[in-house]
Symmetry: C2
Subunit: 295 residues, 2 copies
Amino acid sequence: MTHPRLSMNHATIKHADFDAALAAVTAAGYESYGTWREPVQAIGLAEAAKRFADSGLRLSTHCRGGFVTMPEGEARRAAIADNLRGIEETATLAAAGAPGSRAVFVLVAGGIPAGETGIADARARFADALAELAPEAEAAGVTLAIEPLHPMYASDRAVVSTLGQALDLAAPFDPAVVGVTLDTFHVWWDPEVLPLVARAGAEGRIATYQVCDWKTPLPADVLLGRHYPGEGVIDFASITAAVERCGYDGDVEVEIFNEDVWSSPWDEVAARTATAFDAAVAPYLTATAIPTLVE
Amino acid sequence: MTHPRLSMNHATIKHADFDAALAAVTAAGYESYGTWREPVQAIGLAEAAKRFADSGLRLSTHCRGGFVTMPEGEARRAAIADNLRGIEETATLAAAGAPGSRAVFVLVAGGIPAGETGIADARARFADALAELAPEAEAAGVTLAIEPLHPMYASDRAVVSTLGQALDLAAPFDPAVVGVTLDTFHVWWDPEVLPLVARAGAEGRIATYQVCDWKTPLPADVLLGRHYPGEGVIDFASITAAVERCGYDGDVEVEIFNEDVWSSPWDEVAARTATAFDAAVAPYLTATAIPTLVE
């Protein structure tokens, strides 16, 4: 049986369109699905929401926004507008999803704009964007989930590199409005990861928990070096137990960026993901169902 | 004029033998040189020390030891013995070098041993190795300089990933015996880098300051993605100023791992390194000579 808290993040079956993804995920017995913007936009939000409602799946997250580190100007205004659309998509899909759906919009900060030296200005501009987006998210009932990315992406993808930094950025806001995305791939190496998970839990900021594994050598494109849980070096026992101790009882997404996974049939990927999850992650989960479903 | 605090780390001219390196570095007007073990061992320590003394150069560091994260057994004993040889090499070369030479032996922790899951045990075993090596270093008058490496190397090369972690590991020991290696490439992304540099200075732990730049895309072998200062995104102004505020007044090494740099003529590399250093780093140095020389 597929674990009731396991969610398939669409990035793991990246080349599936929305219908193919829903079909693969439901056929494999998943209860939950984490959407990405492109396949939703390809058929339009209203149609995607309708088909999502028909699928009977929960929404775990909608991925992803952010990428707002540029100075004020046309490109920044376009990025803010795009994030506002993402907030609307998230609210709509969550409302269409089964009970227990989470209106969580994952934010990746963005990198250092071309030609700039230093990372401090880009970080400050991402913080400014949060302040601009938070009231809109609150009005829509959406949680913005800042995702710290592994420091190897600090220059070109995410100037937010640690869970501590993400929590500091979230601190000025209501935890229902700004939280963090906790992805094992990005934080496993941090000597402070366990105390930081505890802090995130105490502050009510864990908006989603994502799992995949790290191993070396990294591929030529370091973005694509993610693996099924259990295939690498990450200690899912200690991190997952720390997340559970915080009282996190939501879905757990498997999000894998990997060319070999992407080129495999989606039903195979869905089955293998469930098997890997059962072996490497599920034993450390204490809640075995989503609370909203059992109420 | 080549900056008096600029040191050529041998890794930047990796394929030069010891004599060729000394010739290139002195011809380019450097006062200081950071040795690597292989070219020293190729001619023998006594002979290397003699030729180094004849060169008139200072020693900035000797690179490198560590790689002791394995469990107790034959391989670990061999690694400890190798580190003891490195301590002896460092003391001998520093004694042979010009006044102002620093007996600093750089330590890279090592990765997670094959087949292990989780990073905590490997970290603990590196801490154990420090406790075993420190008395030997103290007896030899050598400072062990723990080098935190970028988190992308956490699994296969260095389980010590942040300056804060390196300082915590050094804390039980006299700062003259265990310090840290501060390399911009490895720490630039850390949101806490400036306060951590200040902490390192306040605790007397900055054993050496190394500079090279970060830019993306990373090469297929992520070990080799280092660049001349000023060619990437690192803010050398703020980090260098923070190091200087601590009172660090020693040599500053340029250490670049890059196939293109390695395949260039060594005199060209030495000249280009000096030019890049003058533009990107030197303006933020307050002390312009090595104290021992001017006393």
